[in-house]
Symmetry: C2
Subunit: 499 residues, 2 copies
C-alpha cells in the first residue's frame, strides 16, 4: 500500500522525473503549437482506494500534460496577458515548493519574511513608488485589487467613524466608486467580494471605447464634496493597453476627499522605461496600486502585488489578531494581505530582480513594446486588416476587414476567425469587444517572444481570414457562426474576463 512514509526512497527519483520532463518540455516550447491536442485527462471521478505510487502518478501526470497543456509558457501565447517563467524565476519557484516555508511571519519563516520584505522594497523601486509605502505579495491582480480596495474601504469607513473590519458595513451608506469604461472585470470582482456592489461603480466614459470623462468626474466630485469617494484609475486597458490619465484624475481628486486606486495589472510596467513612463505620470501620488507579476515580470503563477501609501490601512484591513501586531517592527506579511498561511511567493520575485536587475527587466519591457509596434505597423500595411486603437504599450487591437465585406457581418467573421486561431495553434489569442466591434487583442509579455513569433499574428489572421471567407462562399452570405462546430468548449469571447 503506498503510504507517503514508505515513499521516502522515491523522493530523489520523483524530483529527477519532474526535472527531466521540465527540461524536455521547455526545450521544445519555442517551436511547439500552443493548442493542446486533448481537452484534459479522462479520469474516473471516484477516488481510487489504492494509490499507484508517486513515480507512476507523476508519469501519468506528465503524459497528460504533454497532450493537454496549453503551451502558455511559450513565446506565441498572446492570450490573457500571460508571461512565462524565466530561468531565475522558475528555479526559485521550485525552491519555494521544496523549502515549503510558510510566509506568514518571522517565526514560521524568517527566510520568506525577509525575502518578501526585500522584494516589496525592490518592486516599489522598480515601479517608482515611494519607499514609505506598504506592500504585500498576493496571488495576482484580482487579489491585489481586493487588498488595495479593502484598504480603501477601511479608509472610507473610518472617515465616517466606523471600523468596518470590526463592526461590519451595516448602517453605512453605499460607497461611491468612480471609474472609466476601462475598469477591468477583476476590479469589479474585488468590489463585489468586498460587499460594495459591482453595479454601484459609475463608469464615467466619454465614448464607446471607455475613455474617461474628466469633466463628469470633476462634476460628480463637486456634488459629493463632503463625502469620501473611491476612484479606480486604470493603467493598461485590457482591450488596447490604453491608460486613464492618472495625473489629471489625481489633480481633480486632490481637491476632494477621494482615495485613488490604480489598477496597473500589466500597465504598471510602463513605469520601467523612459519610452513609456509618461503613461503612468502621477502614479506616486495615488493611494494604492495593484499589479501582476505572473504577467509581465515573467514569474510563475501566483504572483501579484498590492501597494498602499498609508501602511495603517493595509494592516487594519488584514490584521488577524491585534494583540500580535506591533510586537515586531518588521512586517508580518500574513497580517498585511488576505492569506495567513502562504506560499513563499517572494522567492521567484527576488530571484528575478536579482538575476536581471532593473536594466534587464526594462530591456524586456522595451523589446515587447517594440514588438507590439511592429505588429501595429504590419496591421496598418495590410489591406484586409483594420487597427482599432493606438498601440500605446504591448497590446494590438485590430480586426479582419477585407474590402467589400458587409459591415454587418464583420463581427461574426472575426469571431469565427478567433475560434480558428485557437484551433490552429501557431499563435493563441482571443477576441474581445472594442467600441462595439469584435476584435483581436494579442498581448506581448513573454520573455521568450521574438520578432518571428509576433510576425505570425498578422500572417495567421490573414490566412485564416481568407479561408473563412472562401468557406463562406462567393456571396459572403453564409453565416460563419454556424460553421463553428469545432471546440464547443472554447467560446472565444472568454478572452474578456482575463487580461
Amino acid at each position: 500500500m503506498p503510504d507517503p512514509l514508505s515513499d521516502h526512497a522515491n523522493l530523489a527519483a520523483a524530483l529527477d522525473l519532474a526535472a527531466s520532463e521540465a527540461k524536455v518540455y521547455l526545450a521544445g516550447i519555442d517551436d511547439a503549437l500552443v493548442r493542446p491536442r486533448t481537452s484534459g485527462p479522462s479520469q474516473d471521478m471516484d477516488l481510487p482506494d489504492e494509490g499507484i505510487g508517486s513515480l507512476a502518478a507523476l508519469a501519468e501526470l506528465i503524459e497528460s500534460a504533454d497532450e493537454s497543456s496549453t503551451r502558455s509558457a511559450g513565446p506565441r501565447f498572446f492570450h490573457f496577458v500571460m508571461g512565462g517563467g524565466t530561468p531565475a524565476a522558475l528555479g526559485a519557484d521550485w525552491l519555494a515548493s521544496t523549502l515549503d516555508q510558510n510566509a506568514y511571519n518571522w517565526i514560521s519563516s524568517p527566510f520568506a519574511s525577509r525575502l518578501e520584505q526585500v522584494s516589496v522594497e525592490w518592486l516599489k523601486d522598480l515601479f517608482g513608488l515611494p519607499g514609505e509605502w506598504s506592500g504585500v505579495i498576493t496571488t495576482g491582480a484580482t487579489m491585489a485589487n481586493f487588498a488595495s480596495l479593502a484598504a480603501a474601504r477601511r479608509w472610507w469607513g473610518l472617515q465616517q467613524g466606523v471600523d468596518i473590519e470590526a463592526d461590519g458595513f451595516s448602517g453605512l451608506p453605499p460607497m461611491t466608486i468612480l471609474s472609466s469604461g476601462y475598469i477591468h472585470v477583476s476590479a469589479l470582482k474585488a468590489i463585489a467580494m468586498l460587499g460594495l456592489g459591482r453595479d454601484r461603480v459609475r463608469r464615467l466614459s466619454r465614448d464607446g471605447a471607455g475613455r474617461i470623462d474628466l469633466d463628469a468626474l470633476a462634476s460628480v466630485l463637486r456634488e459629493r464634496n463632503q463625502e469620501p469617494v473611491v476612484i479606480v484609475a486604470n493603467a493598461g486597458d485590457v482591450n488596447t493597453g490604453d491608460f486613464d490619465p492618472l495625473a489629471d484624475i489625481l489633480a481633480i481628486a486632490r481637491r476632494h476627499s477621494a482615495w485613488v486606486h490604480v489598477d496597473g495589472a500589466f500597465g504598471l510596467f510602463a513605469a520601467l522605461s523612459p519610452l513609456t513612463r509618461h503613461l503612468v505620470e502621477g502614479l506616486e501620488h495615488a493611494d494604492s496600486v495593484a499589479v501582476d507579476g505572473h504577467k509581465w515580470l515573467n514569474v510563475p503563477y501566483d504572483s501579484g502585488y498590492a501597494f498602499v501609501r498609508d501602511a495603517s490601512y493595509l494592516a487594519g484591513a488584514f490584521g488577524a489578531s491585534a494583540s500580535y501586531l506591533g510586537r515586531d517592527a518588521r512586517p508580518a506579511f500574513g497580517n498585511l494581505g488576505p492569506e495567513m498561511s502562504r506560499r513563499a511567493r517572494s522567492l521567484a520575485v527576488w530571484a528575478t530582480l536579482r538575476a536581471y536587475g532593473r536594466s534587464g527587466i526594462r530591456a524586456m519591457v522595451e523589446r515587447h513594446v517594440r514588438l507590439a509596434q511592429r505588429v501595429g505597423e504590419q496591421v496598418d500595411a495590410a489591406p484586409d486588416l483594420e487597427r482599432l486603437a493606438e498601440v500605446r504599450l504591448n497590446v494590438v487591437c485590430f480586426r479582419f476587414r477585407p474590402p467589400g465585406f458587409p459591415e454587418d457581418r464583420l463581427d461574426d467573421l472575426n469571431r469565427r476567425i478567433g475560434e480558428m486561431v485557437l484551433e490552429d495553434g501557431r499563435v493563441y489569442f482571443g477576441t474581445t469587444e472594442y467600441d462595439g466591434k469584435v476584435a483581436f487583442r494579442p498581448a506581448i509579455v513573454n520573455w521568450r517572444t521574438r520578432e518571428g513569433d509576433v510576425d505570425l499574428i498578422v500572417t495567421t489572421v490573414r490566412e485564416l481570414g481568407a479561408r473563412a471567407i472562401a468557406r463562406a462562399g462567393p456571396g459572403l452570405q453564409a453565416k460563419p457562426a454556424t460553421e463553428a462546430a469545432g471546440e464547443p468548449e472554447a467560446p472565444a469571447e472568454v478572452a474578456k474576463p482575463q487580461r
Copy 2:
C-alpha cells in the same frame, strides 16, 4: 547585461541547480535542526540596476535558504499545523511551476481545469461530502473560509431580496453570525474581509475552553426565528484539536433558517478514518466546508478547498462576468473562487491522491493520531507535565507544571520554555492560551514524522523546563520573563493566529 531573453541557455542549468539543492536539502531534513541560524538574508533595499544572472542569483538564494529557512518541511516542525510535500506532491508542484498553466478556464488551460475538476471530486469523496456539492481550490483555509462565507453572505442577502455582489451590502441589517469559542482567527479574518464585522460574531461558549453552549444556540435561533443566520462550526480547534458537535448543531439549525459552515482546516481529516469519523458526524448535512491541503494532505503551499452544497451560491459570489457563465457546462474555476488568473494548484492535489489513494492518506492520518496519543501518554506519565485537554485528533495540549512550583508563575515559566524550544530547534512548536493557561500545543501532520520525532517533544520540554527552573534560582522567585533576552523577533504567542 542579463536580459531574460539572453538567459535561454541557462534554463537547464538553473533547473539542475534547483533540483540538486532540493535533493541535498531534503535528504538532510529528517535530522536537521528546525531552527534557522540567521533571521534572513541581509540585502540592500535598493533594487540593483544590473542583475547578476540567473545562476548566481539562485546560488545566493540557496545559500540564504541553507542558513535562514526553517526546516518546516521536516518531521519535527509541530508549529502552526504545517505538513510537508510528499514525493508525489512536490514533483507535481514543480510541474505546476514549469507548465505555468493559468487555471482560470478551459481556454487558458484544459489540463488545469480538468485536473481541478477531478481533484475536487476526489476530495469530496475523500472527506465523505456528497457528489453534487460544488468546490474550488483556494490558497488555504483562510480563503476557503472566505469563499464559503461569501457564498453564505450571498444566500443571506438573497433571503432578503438583495444581490450583494451586484448591489452591495448597504441598507441590509447586520448579519447574525454564531459560533463557539473554538472559532479560528482565519474565519474571523474572512468575516472581516467580507465586511460583516469580526466583532459581530457571537461566541456561544459554555466554558473557558470555548466549548459550544448548545442551549444558548437553540435559544438564539428561537429568538431569530424569522431571520436568516450563519453558524460557523469548528472541526478541529486550534488549541486542542477538539470539535464542535456538528450533528447537534445541525439538528438545532435545521429547524430555523440557518447556513451552517464548517471550518475544518485540519480537523476535516478526521473523516478519513473509522477511528475518528464520529468527530465529524453530520458533516454532509452542512451548507459549506473549508479545509486545508498544505496541512494534513502534505501538499506544498498554497492549497485549500472550499466546498458548498448549492453550486449557485459559489458561482454567484465569484462569477466575474455573467455573460460568460453557462456557455460551458464544465466549471470555470476562476469564476468559482476569489482569483481569476490562478496557479494550477490542482496538480499537487491530483498527484497525491493518485499516488497514495484513499488508503495511503488514511494510513498517514491514523499514524499521526496514534503518535499524538503516544505523546499524550508520555505527558500523563511525566510528573512535571500536565495535559490540559483530551487528545482527540492530532494536537496535544499540555504544560510544564513541576510539583511545588507557584501556580501564579506557571504562565511565565511555560512562555519562557516556549521561547527556549524555538531556540533549541530539535522540535518546534509555540505556546497558546488554553482556558486561561499558557500551554504548548504541538500538532502532528507531517508525512515524515515517526515515533522518534514525537518522543522529542516531551523530552525537550522536560529538559528545557528543568533548565529554566535551575536558572530561576532555588527560591523560584526570579521572573523568568525578564531572562528571555534571546529571539526578540520571536514572540512565542504568535502560535495562535495560525493553526
